[in-house]
Amino acid sequence: MSLPDRFRDWFAARGWQPHPHQLALLAAKGDTLLIAPTGGGKTLAGFLPSLVDLANGGEGLHTLYLSPLKALTADIARNLAAPVSEMGLKVRIEDRTGDTSSAKRARQRVDPPNILLTTPESLALMTSYPEAPKIFKSLKRVVVDEIHALAESKRGDQTMLGIARLRSLAPGLTVTGLSATVSDPEALAAFMGGAEILRADPGPAPDIAMLPTSEPPPWAGGNAHYAVPDVMAAVAQARMTLIFVNTRAQAELFFQQLWEANPDNLPIGLHHGSLSREARQRVEQAMAEGALRAVVCTGSLDLGIDWGDVDLVLQVGAPKLVTRLVQRIGRSNHRYDAPSRARLVPANRFEVIESIVALEAVQARDLDGQPHGPGPLDVLCQHILLTACAGPFEADALFEEFRSSGPYQTLTRAQFDACLDFCATGGYALKAYDRWQRLMVRKGLWYLRDPRSAKLIRMNIGTITDPEQLNVRMARARGGAPLGTVEESFAASLEPGDMFLIGGRVVAFERLREMVVEVQNTPRKQPRIAVYSGVKMASSLQVSHRVQALIGEPEDWHRLPADIRDWLDMQRRLSVLPRAGVLACESFPRGGQWHLTIWGFAGRNAHQTLGLLISRRMEAMGLGPLGFVTTDYALMIWSVDPVDDPALLLRADTLQDGFDDWLAHNSLIKRTFRSVATIAGLMQRNLPGQRRSGKQATFSSDIIHDTLRRHDPDHLLLRITRDEARRGLVDYDRIEDMLRSNPLIDHARAPHVTPLSAPLLLEIGRVSVDGEGRERMMEREAERLMREAGLA
C-alpha cells in the first residue's frame, strides 16, 4: 500500500513529513515488528495501514489495538480523533478496558467499532464470549503496542495465546508489533511467532546527565528529599517535566515534598496505578491540555504516553535497568530529530554509583535484556478454561492453535494433555471428581459441565497477581470519594487515627468497613507511608559488575563526587570494602536483630539462592534466621543471634544439604504457588471491595500448597511452581563458582549499620524465613503485649 493523497495532504497541511518507517510499515506484507525510539511516531505508523484501508468506510471490527496500559488506550483514542476528523474518515474508534461502563461493553459485543483499543485482559475476556466468532470474523489487523514491555511478563504469553485464537477466528490476520529499543529484536520477533523486523532511525544520542544538587545525597532511603529544591528549579526552567519515581510510595512522598517547597505554586500532578480511575483521568486530561508543569509518576506513565510537550525527564532513584532508562529518556522531547534531555537524581549515595555506571552504559549503547523463556503452563490452563467458556472445542485443534503462538512453539502434547486434565479433573492422582469434572468430553468435544462456572472463570482472568488491594474512601458521607487502594497487609496494620499518604494527601484511618478502608482528612503532616510492594526491578548483571569494579578500586574513585568518595572511605574504616577476589561480609546489630550482609555481586537470582542456602544453615545452627533480602549486589540476612564466622555458613561441602526440603517450605515457593494457582484457576482471585467483613476470608493458598505437597507431590501446579521458582534462582554450580572466584572471606563486625548496607534496610521484596527464630519473635511480642495490657 502507498499513502493516498488525502493522507499526504493531511501530513503536508501540518507541515509534517511521514517518517520512512511509517511508509515502510504501510508497504509491509505479513507480520512485522517495528523497532522505533519513543517520539518516533510509532503509534501512528501502527495505525496508518488501518486508516488507509478504512478510508472509504468499512464494516465491522477491522483492527484490534492492544496495549499494556489502560491509560494508553484512552490516550490513543484522543490522539487518533484528530487525524480521523480532519481527514473526514468514516472510522469508528472506541476503547474498552476494565474502566469502560458495562452498558458500553455490552453494546460493543453486539456492534463492535472499526478500531477497538483494548488491553490483553479485555481481549481474553472477549474471546471467552460465545459471540467471539461473530465479533472477530471481519478482523484484518492486530496492533500490539509496547510489545517489549508485554513480553517481559506472563501478560505477553496471554496476549500471544489470544492472538492465536484470533487467527483461528479470522484467517489471514496480520499482526504488527510496536517496540521501543531493545537489545534482542530477533527474540521479540520469535515471541510474535515470527515477524519481519523493521528498524527506524534511532535518532540522535540523548542528552543525559546527573542533576547537580546543592546538598549531597543521604546514605540510605529512596525519597531524594535532599534534592527537592534542585528539582523545583529544574521544573521551573522547563516547559513540562516528567518526574519518574521507582515505587508508588516514593511517588506519594516525593509529590508531597515538592508541594511543600513550591514557592510559585507551579501546577504539579501525581499519577500512579494505585490512584482511583477518576484521579488518574483528571491528571491525564490536565496533561493533554498542557495545564501542568510537572507530573510525578511511576511505571503507570512509563510506556509511550504522548501527552503534552515534555521537554525534560527526571529519574529519581536508581534507574534499575539501562533499557528502562533509555525508554524513559525517550519520553522527553517529541521532536524526533532533537536529542532528549534527561537528568538523574539518585536518592542515596549507593545510587550515585549506580547512576554513574548506568550513564556510562547508555553512552556505550550497552543495552540489557532478559531472554523470554517458553510460555508458562499456568497461563495455558487459564486459556483452556476461557476457551471452554466460549463454546465446545476439539483438543487436537486447540493444541495446534497453541503451538502456532510464539511462546508455545515447543509445547509438547504431554504438557498440553496435563494442562487439559488439570482443567477437567483437577489432575489429582486420586480421581475424586468424576461426578464434578469442570470440563467434560462428549463426541470428541470438550465443554463446561456447569455453565455457571463460566462466570467464575471470567472473574479470574488475567496474569497479574498483585497482593490483595483494598479500596480507600473518605468516610462520613455514604459512598465517600474514592481515593485509591492500599495493600491488605498495610490496612491490617492500621489503628484508628493512624495517618498515611494517598493521592498526595495525608489521611487518618477511621475504620475498615465491609473491606473498604474509611479515612478522614487530617491537618497533620507526619504520615506513615502506604506500603506498596510493587514490582521489584532487577539491574542487569552488566551494571552489577560495573558497580563492583568501581567500588573495589579506589584509584577509580576520581569518577565519583567528593562526598561519595568520603562515604566509601568511611565504609572502609568502619567495615570492609568489597573488592575482587574477596567475598566481603559485614555484621551489625539493629532493632534487636543481627544483620549479615554478603557482598556477592552475582546478581539477584544468585543471591536469592544463596539466601535460601544460608538461612537453612543458620536454622540448623540455631541462630534463628528471620528473613533475607537481595539486590543485584548483595544478600542481607537477619536473625535473632549473630553469625560469628560466615566461613562456616559458606562451606561448599555442606551448603547444599537438605536444600530441596527447605525450598519446599519457604515463603518464596509459597508466594510463587499462590500466583500460579490463581492464574491456573485453582484459587479464586479476590477483587478489591468484593469481600465483606463478618465473613471468613478465603482459605490460604499456603494450606492448599501444603496439602497438595503431602498427598500429590507430582501435581502439575507443583511442577509449574518449582520450574518458576527455579527461574528466580540459579543453579548451585553458579554459587560454587562465586565461592571459588572469591576464595577469601573478609568479615567485619561493625557497631551499627554501615554506609553500604544502609540502603538494603529499605529494599522491598523481603523473603521471610519460618523457623525457630520466627517462633521466638512471636513469643517476645506476645509477652510484650500481655505486659502492656497488664495481664502478665
Binding site: 479433573t425 483437577g426 489429582y428 486420586l430 475424586a432 471428581y433 461426578r435 464434578w436 469442570r438 463446561l448 459441565r449 456447569d450 455453565p451 455457571r452 462456572s453 467464575l456 491490617a492 489503628e495 493512624d498 475498615l512 506513615r528 484457576g681 485453582l682 484459587m683 479464586q684 467483613s693 463478618g694 465473613k695 471468613q696 476470608a697 478465603t698 482459605f699 490460604s700 494450606i703 492448599i704 496439602t707 497438595l708 503431602r710 498427598h711 500429590d712 501435581h715 520466627r774 517462633e775 519473635m777 512471636m778 513469643e779 517476645r780 511480642e781 506476645a782 503485649l785 500481655m786 502492656e788 495490657a789 497488664g790 495481664l791
Partner: protein
C-alpha cells in the same frame, strides 16, 4: 503444649490442634470441621481443590481421640460443608469416622452449613446446656462456647488460628483443613470478645490481649 483456660467458672484446656478439652467431664469440643468442602466447591462448578482436606481433618481428629480419654465428642457446628456431605464422604473416610465414634457419646451441634445434614451416627441438636453455660454454633447470650467465625490472631506479623476468650464468650478456631479465618480485631469479634485474650495455635500456644486499653507505640 496445652494451655489452661478459665472460663465461666470452669477449667478447660486449649490444645495446639484447635480442639478444646473439658477435663472434668472428659469432653472434647471441636468447631467447624467443614468436611466435604472441596467436593461442594466442585459440585457448584468452582475450582477443583486438592480432594484431601476431609482425610486430613479426620486424621487430625483421630490423633486427639487417641491422645485423650474422650467420653463425649461435641462438634460445635459446620462439621459438614452442606447437607449432601455426610453421604458424599469417601467410604474410607466414613469408616474411619464411624470407628472413632465407637464407645463414645458423639454430639453434632448444627451450624449454618450443616443444619439439614444427617450424619450416620451420633445425636444432632442445636444447643447443649451444661454447668451453667451453653455450647452452640454462633455466640449469643453468654456464657457460651461457640465456633462459626474461624478466628485468627496476629503476632509479630503472623496470623494463626486462635481461641478467643472473653468474659461472656469462648470462641474456638476452625478445626478443618480448608478454612480461612477472620482476624480477632475485626467486627464483630472485637466487640464480642474484647477485652479478652487470644490463644494462638501452634507448636506452643501463645497468648495476646484483644481490645485492652494500652499505651500503643506509634511508628
Amino acid at each position: 503444649m496445652t494451655r489452661r483456660v478459665d472460663f465461666a467458672g470452669q477449667v478447660f484446656e486449649a490444645r495446639p490442634s484447635g480442639a478444646l478439652w473439658w477435663p472434668e467431664l472428659r469432653w472434647l469440643i471441636v468447631a467447624d470441621l467443614h468436611l466435604g468442602k472441596s467436593a461442594r466447591m466442585a459440585a457448584r462448578g468452582g475450582a477443583l481443590l486438592p480432594p484431601h482436606e476431609t482425610e486430613d481433618t479426620i486424621t487430625k481428629l483421630a490423633a486427639e481421640l487417641d491422645a485423650l480419654p474422650v467420653a463425649r465428642l461435641v462438634s460445635l457446628g459446620d462439621a459438614f460443608e452442606d447437607a449432601a456431605a455426610p453421604d458424599a464422604l469417601r467410604a474410607s473416610d466414613r469408616a474411619r469416622l464411624a470407628a472413632m465414634a465407637q464407645g463414645r457419646n458423639w454430639c453434632w451441634i448444627t451450624g449454618n452449613h450443616d443444619e439439614k445434614a444427617l450424619p450416620a451416627f451420633g445425636s444432632v441438636t442445636s444447643e447443649i446446656h451444661e454447668k451453667g453455660l451453653t455450647l452452640r454454633h454462633i455466640a449469643e447470650t453468654g456464657p457460651d462456647i461457640s465456633g462459626h467465625y474461624h478466628p485468627k490472631a496476629r503476632l509479630a506479623g503472623r496470623a494463626r488460628p486462635a481461641f478467643l476468650v472473653g468474659a461472656d464468650h469462648l470462641i474456638l478456631p476452625a478445626f478443618g483443613t480448608y478454612t480461612g479465618g477472620l482476624d480477632c480485631e475485626s467486627a464483630p469479634l472485637d466487640t464480642l470478645v474484647g477485652p479478652g485474650i487470644a490463644l494462638l495455635c501452634g507448636s506452643k500456644i501463645l497468648s495476646r490481649p484483644i481490645g485492652h486499653q494500652t499505651a500503643r507505640r506509634r511508628a
